[in-house]
């Protein structure tokens, strides 16, 4: 037990309900003390389990009940700088529920809802992810693009930097799962902040979203064709873009990482910069198997790619959480890419397969790929 809980238990001969409630109210959950984290639950239930998303730890850990009370606790040793998303599995009678931690108001949202979040010692939400009143806001506009490659219309959201000038040309970044990057990673705020701080080049960003990402992002050839032959020309027709692949980038997370790399690989003269976050780069050394059937096309494509990686881009930024199962695939991709002569930067984080992990890596990745004029500005 950690100091706070141990002291509380040692200080009371009779742990009455009122004292427990007071302790829980004062400390909330989890209690972070150095590398030790204590999760608390207060309630009349039969079992409490922590359901976290840390690959390599058992996915569920049971809370212990403080005898004679409704107070439950679980202690974990967690490395500094970690960020952990979790839920609680609570059983009462025959009912078993997954809930967010009622004692913790930190939440992380994703397309499936929200999780509770634990910030270990040494982690704090980066300031550049938060709205800054001094940052000039870029504008968003959108258009629908008819796609022969995919069939039907695709909706594109476009970010234009705040101080855009008609006499300038700008680099282009195309973002897969764009709406999710905007909603769950706060990407517009981040673009505004990094550009305002001169850390990121002023750029135009196209956000695209797929209605069937499990198919279209799994190294799908039609999606690559759409991006290279339909979306890119459409953007070039509408906006003042700098010509040349060195001024064009693709980015995505999870399967979005796969479609970014596979698109650049299939159209090697089109995109010079890639940002691949926790890419689902499933591969086998022998046979054709995958953790999930949806990844089989990825396994097939990765086989081709690993045999002939070519030179799909000039600079590639790769990030992955060490608490995700994909860390091994991502680590093993790095030397393969480096061998091709591309400039590769790989970053690991003590985080999982989630949007806030991807959010927290945006500054390092984007600013490395598209460095702003920071070195030129002396106010």
């Amino acid at each position: 037990m950690t100091l706070a809980l141990r002291e509380f238990l040692a200080s009371k001969e009779d742990l009455d309900e009122r004292a427990v409630r007071k302790f829980v109210r004062e400390h909330g959950s989890p209690i972070v003390e150095g590398d030790t984290i204590t999760f608390l639950f207060h309630g009349d239930v039969d079992e409490v389990h922590l359901r976290h998303f840390i690959y390599s730890l058992p996915s569920t850990s049971a809370f212990e009940r403080v005898a004679g009370t409704n107070l439950w606790f679980l202690r974990l040793e967690v490395p500094r700088g970690s960020r952990i998303e979790y839920k609680l599995e609570v059983a009462a009678g025959r009912q078993r529920r997954m809930i967010r931690d009622p004692l913790n108001d930190k939440l992380a949202h994703d397309p499936y809802g929200a999780n509770s979040v634990c910030h270990a010692s040494g982690y704090s939400t980066p300031s550049w992810t938060q709205p800054d009143p001094e940052s000039r806001a870029g504008t968003m506009e959108s258009f629908d693009l008819k796609s022969a490659a995919l069939g039907g219309d695709r909706h594109i959201e476009v970010y234009l930097p705040a101080r855009m000038r008609a006499t300038r040309r700008y680099p282009l970044l195309i973002v897969f799962d764009g709406a999710d990057y905007l909603h769950f990673a706060g990407m517009k705020t981040i673009l505004d902040n990094l550009i305002h701080r001169h850390e990121l080049e002023q750029m135009i960003v196209a956000f695209t979203q797929s209605p069937d990402r499990m198919k279209e992002y799994a190294a799908d050839e039609a999606m690559s064709r759409f991006v290279a032959h339909e979306l890119l020309p459409a953007m070039e027709g509408k906006y003042p873009l700098r010509p040349g692949r060195q001024f064009r980038g693709l980015m995505g997370a999870s399967l979005g990482g796969v479609v970014s790399l596979s698109t650049a690989w299939r159209h090697p003269k089109k995109f010079g910069k890639l940002m691949l976050q926790s890419g689902s780069f499933a591969f086998t050394d022998i046979g054709r198997t995958a953790k999930h059937p949806v990844l089989l096309p990825v396994v097939d494509w990765m086989k081709e790619f690993r045999e002939k990686p070519g030179h799909p881009a000039e600079k590639i930024f790769i990030s992955c959480g060490v608490y995700e199962g994909l860390i091994y695939e991502n680590r093993s991709l790095v030397p393969l890419l480096e061998k091709t002569g591309m400039e590769v930067r790989f970053t690991e984080a003590r985080d999982g397969h989630n949007w806030e992990n991807w959010r927290d890596r945006l500054r390092e990745g984007l600013c490395w790929l598209f460095p702003g004029p920071l070195g030129l500005v002396y106010e």
Binding site: R165, P373, L376
Partner: protein, 310 residues
């Protein structure tokens, strides 16, 4: 004899008015805030600090006007910008390799009689690369000037006339900081320093860098990881002999003597001079005659010491 005052950043500890009073200026002061780009109109703070008439030269807005009115010139200007940018990237690539070699040679132990001349030679490679880069950027600028002769373009000539008229009324010109590349390019377009060749100059941060003969850009802690200080190109050359380093304490790790020594050796005979908040330096006839507020230089021993004006 013309007086030029170089100052450190003015935002937190403004010393401009003190410098103006020390030097003595008659008449209004012309202001160049083109380094602030679209914010160049925001000079209320500057006006209230100086407490006298300040004429904003609107150099940034005037350039935009030229670009709008003369698309042919704009195209050529953009092409020049693209060439300079590409050249900068090529220089950065070559510099990274040479600097790595130099650092590695300085790190390893071995036969001193073999290593010492190789280390000297590696340093000389860097200095030669720097000189070559300045030469190449100057060539691109000169080639552009002689081919396009900006002064003969109608839009530029019109602004030039207006600026010359303003110059006749002003006793001094104040050049603010901001983006040093933008500042240099826009001022060059109208030959601002030529027009204001008789006026006293007050220049701070990027403005101070622009007044030297060699502009070096630097940042030890950018989000993409530390790189090497890199030469942007020539400045206006009104204060030769120094490399002006505004915000040195904020942007550079000054705690490591080996780094400071390398700065010194790479850029000598120029002196690397830190202009932090409050620091200012007066030059007359190309010589530094007085300093205030703790102007410091990087020494051969890797330490900072007071910059002593003659």
């Amino acid at each position: 004899m013309r007086t030029i005052v170089l100052l450190g950043p003015q935002r937190l500890q403004p010393t401009l008015v003190q410098a103006v009073e020390t030097v003595g200026v008659e008449g209004p002061i012309a202001a160049v805030t083109a380094g602030w780009e679209e914010r160049e109109d925001e000079i209320d703070e500057l006006k209230s600090h100086l407490g006298r008439r300040v004429v904003n030269l609107h150099i940034h807005a005037r350039s935009e006007d030229v670009y709008r009115r003369d698309p042919e010139f704009l195209k050529a200007w953009q092409e020049r910008r693209g060439r300079l940018r590409d050249l900068q990237e090529i220089h950065r690539l070559r510099l990274d390799h040479l600097m790595r070699a130099l650092r590695d040679l300085r790190k390893i132990d071995g036969r001193e009689e073999l290593l010492a001349p190789e280390r000297d030679s590696a340093l000389e490679d860097v200095r030669r690369l720097d000189d070559g880069h300045v030469r190449r950027t100057d060539e691109i600028l000169e080639e552009f000037e002689s081919r396009w002769v900006p002064r003969q373009r109608d839009a530029v000539a019109e602004h030039h006339r207006e600026l010359s008229k303003i110059a006749g009324e002003c006793g001094a010109i104040a050049v603010a900081g901001g983006n040093v590349a933008v500042l240099l390019n826009r001022m060059r377009l109208f030959d601002v320093m030529g027009i204001f060749r008789r006026q006293t100059v007050f220049a701070w941060s990027a403005g101070a860098m622009a007044m030297t003969d060699r502009v070096v850009i630097y940042h030890d802690d950018p989000p993409w990881g530390r790189g090497n200080p890199i030469i942007l190109g020539s400045g206006f050359g009104l204060c030769p002999g120094i490399v002006a380093l505004p915000h040195a304490h904020r942007r550079l790790n000054l705690e490591r003597p080996s780094r400071l020594r390398l700065w010194h050796e790479r850029f000598e005979p120029r002196q690397c001079v830190a202009f932090d908040d409050g620091a200012w330096l007066i030059a007359r006839g190309g010589r530094f005659v007085a300093s205030a507020g703790g102007v410091r230089r990087f020494g051969h021993d890797g330490h900072l010491s007071e910059f002593l004006a003659a």
